[in-house]
Amino acid sequence: MAIEKDMPLKSILFFFTFLIISGCGQSEQQMPLSQNTTEFSSSSGWLSWWAVLAYFLIFAGLLRLWVRVRSRRLLIENARLEQKLNERTEALSTALDSLRQAQSQLIQAEKMASLGELTAGIAHEIQNPLNFVNNFSEINTELIGDINKCLEEGNISEARNLLKDIELNMGKITFHGKRADTIVKGMLLHSRASSGQKTPTVLNDLADEYLRLSYHGLRAKDKSFNARFVMDFDEKTGDLMLVQQDIGRVFLNLFNNAFYAVTEKKKRMPEGYEPTVTVTTKRKKDSVEIRIRDNGQGIPKKVIAKIYQPFFTTKPAGQGTGLGLSLSYDIVTKDHGGKIDVITKENEFTEFIVELPVLPAE
């Protein structure tokens, strides 16, 4: 295209160069005929100085015209390219917005999935304390009737015994009522967006609560699921400044993964294998270490480097969003300044080690 566009210009330039050179040559040839005159011969009018000047002016005009045409073409091309660029930038921006939206939806889906598991576990957890609250309340109502009879009969000692039973039962009602309250609060905390606010938290209690919720949630989802869990907590862990529902989410994810690993191994080795998940806490100098160990299928070497990548999962499609460990990693390291590490041996065990700093007392 460039060559074709420049061809007219080159032709014009060549033509005028030829004319100028020819005109100068003719002028030089004419000089000997008439050295004392400044007039040119009328037979070479098309090469006279005014003609050359005219040619030059025409050339200049054509050149200017060509430059203007080219400039206009360049401007149009520029505008077209700019528009194309803007369109692509807009398309990329739209794609980025869609990706961000999809990411947030997946994160929300991950939250809802874990919330769904929690809900099932919580339904079980709540019906147990409700069983005691309802029944001990009914018992006390009956006992009050019995006490009235005893008083009418003058049987004071029996009435006193029954009052002791009422007192014991009231203690159970209060205990199990508070237990149900804690369960509901835990569920609400999990469903709310994280406030990001750190509060003093007894880590052992948080681990205990979420381990049970994970266990019962999985039992609710999969009737064949069964595993042993062991808790070995250091009493000296004390209070840590944590965003409770975020660390709870980390625990839930790690416990769910551990139970999944042992369940998968159980499917392959039904005889003689006891699926076990062990949770230990230990107070160190400036931190608290939590170890979540399972005797499951382990993590293959080729995969270990990717486990914290968003959307990476080894579970079959539809069974996991691949965001659990990625979110957990961010919560522990970025939000809490802690560390998360893993040691594993394929077909033998996996152990996640979470270390959370203990902030110095003010």
Binding site: A123, H124, Q127, N128, L130, N131, F132, N134, N135, F136, E138, I139, L143, D165, L168, N169, K172, H176, Y215, H216, R219, A220, K223, N226, R228, F229
Partner: protein, 124 residues
């Protein structure tokens, strides 16, 4: 009638003893409590012939109520004790699974002791 109750919730013992106070006092029922499935099997291995009825929770850590049920039906046949499963869920699927495994009845939490008493008295 000797009844074995299997549940990991320890307060179940006080609940049953309160709810069946009169029946226990007049010797109508005798309750024995174990807090895990393996513990229940150990007890049955010792004095199985005395136990007429087993009330078992389904969701227990380690060995579940359904696994206990399978074990009971396999090992303790003469005479086979009556087994009622108790669970917090109460859905049709769990009911069906319990019946398929040989459970004689199915109860849901929160327990309605009026219904339980009626069922137990009908077995006497």
């Amino acid at each position: 009638m000797k009844i074995l109750v299997v549940d990991d919730e320890r307060d179940i013992q006080q609940l049953f003893e309160q709810r069946f106070r009169k029946e226990i006092k007049n010797g109508e029922f005798e309750f024995v409590f174990t807090f895990s499935a393996p513990e229940a099997i150990q007890y049955l291995n010792r004095i199985q012939h005395e136990v007429v009825l087993i009330l078992s929770d389904i969701n227990m850590p380690g060995m579940s109520g359904f696994e206990l049920l399978s074990e009971i039906k396999k090992k303790f046949k003469t005479p086979p004790p009556i087994v009622m499963m108790i669970t917090a869920y109460g859905d049709d699927e769990k009911h069906r699974q319990a019946i398929e495994l040989g459970a004689d009845d199915f109860l849901t939490k929160p327990l309605d002791f009026h219904i339980l008493k009626t069922k137990l008295k009908s077995l006497e």
